[in-house]
């Protein structure tokens, strides 16, 4: 299909149009077909129970992919032993998904799988995430998969049930927003800094009701892992989804992965995927321009993800009651630099920043160094395969030598429901996506940062940019 110059369409329009089972009307939303449904243990049990109570089966187990990640411990345990769950409820929740997957014939990446891990890390890793797909999951960070030019968004558990039973969802077409990020970023700027900068510019509700397309040379220059970090945090600006047009970088990442098309199917798929990019003249409801040359390594000072400032900049004076509450909770003073506070814990992990590239950057900063005395550092790889890759490269030795804890994969301290958490009052530097009050444990004060910044801060014992530590190139 060649672009229709009279009706130029965006990437989002194209994926949307291709998945309409029925069109929307004034009275009813569209029925949207879902190509890939990702499932984890926390947001699925009530949905499976609903199916059971109605005597329904899973319509397309072949389009459903499950793993256990949120409630799972990241501590080591011996083969054959029961994983050291935080409590019986967590264990029951995992076993409930195991039962449901078995009953319905769903592929589950369980304790014995090389691809068990954070759901948004294993989808791409398996090549299950592909351009042009519709992908949903009972998890707001599903936007991660938009990095491949998929329309991917989080849903509630009732909708998880809808997709399990019918492979469709009732959807009104969201608005569209395009964010242009142009100009060359500094060598010390990573994808996490780019997205924290964007969210600080547009606000936590800047993308509400919208699907964002990220474009511009600072975006196309990113590798796939970095693009995933950007799209992952779209929800932190309130957006339904974030997307990036697939290109050669995308295709090279997918080539040869377990679920990627093979042989002639591969060539056909690439030809089809190459047509997904937004047509010239495609119209968006809103356009935002970001100057990439202005982006510096970022950290957040508050309790919402839009409170990012450049490291070294002064913490601002609160302008609203919400900001006043945030600065009080964080126990910071306006005008201070973030680096003035001692940190208690550092967490490198989560669907935002637990891929192999994130661990390589952290290792580059930490190599041959020790973390600050008294500080605790958790490094939690995104999947079993990321863990094995890191170990093959010797990264685990660097982390262990530094004094960090090298853990088994999982969501861990990002959501802090598996026993990995901070203590009240502790200041935690985290590569995850949310700094909400209590997110990493009751009373914990979370600072969001990139893996480079998190690693450098762990060495220093206070918040600092990687700067000179990064210059010592490690091969």
């Amino acid at each position: 299909m060649s672009p229709d110059h009279a009706h130029p369409r965006s990437l989002f329009d194209k994926v949307w149009d291709a998945h309409l089972v029925t069109q929307e009307t004034v009275e009813t939303p569209a029925l949207m077909y879902i190509d890939l449904h990702l499932v984890h243990e926390v947001t699925s049990p009530q949905a499976f129970a609903e199916l059971a109570s109605r005597g329904l089966d899973v319509r397309r187990p072949d389009r459903t992919l499950a793993t256990v990640d949120h409630s799972t411990p990241t501590l080591d345990f011996a083969p054959g032993e029961t994983p050291p769950y935080a409590n019986e409820q967590a264990r029951n929740q995992v076993e409930t998904l195991q039962d449901n997957a078995r009953k319905h014939g769903i592929e589950l990446h369980d304790w014995d799988s090389e691809h068990r891990g954070v759901i948004h890390i294993i989808g791409p890793e398996l090549g299950a995430t592909q351009p042009g797909m519709t992908i949903v999951c009972g998890d707001s960070h599903t936007a991660t998969h938009g990095a491949f030019g998929a329309l991917a968004f989080g849903i509630g558990t009732t909708e998880v049930g809808h997709v399990l039973a019918t492979q469709t969802l009732l959807q009104r077409k969201p608005k569209s927003m395009r964010i242009h990020v142009n100009g060359q970023t500094g060598s010390d700027v990573t994808a996490k800094d780019i997205i924290l900068h964007i969210i600080a510019q547009i606000g936590v509700d800047g993308g509400t009701g919208c699907v964002i397309e990220y474009t511009g040379d600072a975006i196309t220059a990113l590798d796939m892992e970095a693009r995933m970090t950007v799209c992952n945090m779209s929800i932190e600006a309130g957006a339904r989804a974030g997307m990036i047009a697939p290109d050669q970088t995308t295709f090279e990442y997918l080539r040869g992965r377990a679920r990627a098309p093979k042989g002639m199917n591969w060539d056909n798929a690439v030809a089809k995927w190459s047509e997904l990019a937004s047509d010239a003249g495609a119209v968006f409801d809103c356009e935002v321009h970001i100057d990439a040359t202005q982006i510096r390594p970022m950290v957040t000072w508050g309790t919402a993800p839009d409170t990012g400032i450049a490291i070294g900049d002064a913490i601002p004076t609160p302008q609203t009651p919400a900001e006043q509450r945030a600065i009080t909770y964080m126990d910071f003073q306006p005008g201070e630099a973030m680096g003035e506070h001692r940190i208690s814990q550092v967490f490198i992990g989560s669907c935002t920043n637990a891929r192999i590239g994130d661990l390589r950057i952290a290792a580059r900063v930490m190599r041959g160094r020790k973390i600050a005395p008294g500080l605790r550092m958790l490094i939690v790889p995104g999947s079993v395969s990321v863990r094995h890759q890191a170990e093959a490269e010797g990264l685990d030795k660097i982390f262990r030598f530094a004094g960090a804890e090298w853990r088994q994969p999982g969501c861990s301290m990002c959501i802090a429901m598996n026993g990995d958490r901070g203590e009240a009052g502790q200041l935690v530097v985290s590569t995850s996506n949310r700094n909400f009050e209590g997110r990493q444990g009751t009373g914990v004060r979370t600072v969001l940062a990139s893996p480079a910044t998190a690693a450098a801060s762990a060495i220093a014992g206070h918040i600092t940019a990687a700067g000179s530590l990064m210059e010592a190139e490690y091969v």
Binding site: T158, H162, L170, P321, E437
Partner: protein, 196 residues
């Protein structure tokens, strides 16, 4: 409808409860450590847990939420961007279990809003003037008519609100979205045949 769990949103009256803070995320509404449940029921007990209770588990005396009386106050009026963050439907289940039937704000996060209307909670976007008035008048009695889309604020600036028509239908007459989807089996099969 006589079922107290399914109020008549065409003739709904209640007093409000104001939580003026902006950007209340679903981690505040129900902290993640309570998400290991495999049930929907019972989450109200831990709604806004860390606001209502201190680290030792004692009720915080100065916290207005501890005085919330959902026998008479079934409407939360919240600061801008209520329900942002995590997609956890547990937030809607917790509020419903607590006795909340309506949330009013100038802006409500997308996923929370979708979850709310599927669980007997009416999400209402109020115009800024009305929202501001409601924030300033904690505990005022209001009347809501979902059929006409009107909120009557008595002496305040009454207003019309928009809601997605299918969500309105579900809240008004209990239309079952899954049943509706299942009734499209033939179209879904046709789509699958066409695209694979």
């Amino acid at each position: 409808m006589s079922d107290p769990l399914k109020p008549d949103f065409a003739r709904f009256r209640s007093r409000t409860f104001v939580i003026s803070q902006e950007n209340i995320d679903t981690d505040q509404i129900i902290p993640a450590r309570f998400l290991t449940t495999t049930q929907c029921a019972g989450l109200g007990l831990n709604a806004f847990h860390d606001w209502r209770y201190d680290e030792a588990g004692h009720r915080r005396s100065g916290e207005p939420l501890n005085a919330l009386d959902t026998a008479h106050q079934q409407v939360i009026v919240a600061g801008r961007n209520f329900g942002c963050g995590s997609s956890r439907e547990h937030a809607a289940w917790a509020l419903h279990d607590l006795g909340i039937r309506v949330v009013i704000s100038s802006e409500i996060a997308d996923i929370f809003s979708a979850n709310a209307s599927k669980n007997g909670i009416l999400p209402i976007i109020a115009p800024k003037i009305a929202h501001h008035w409601l924030l300033e008048h904690d505990g005022v009695e209001i009347a809501i008519n979902l059929e006409t889309g009107r909120v009557d604020l008595g002496n305040g600036p009454s207003f019309q609100f928009q809601i997605e028509p299918f969500a309105r239908r579900c809240l008004l007459d209990g239309t079952d979205p899954l049943g509706f989807l299942l009734s499209h089996d033939a179209q879904i099969s046709a789509y699958e045949a066409r695209t694979t």
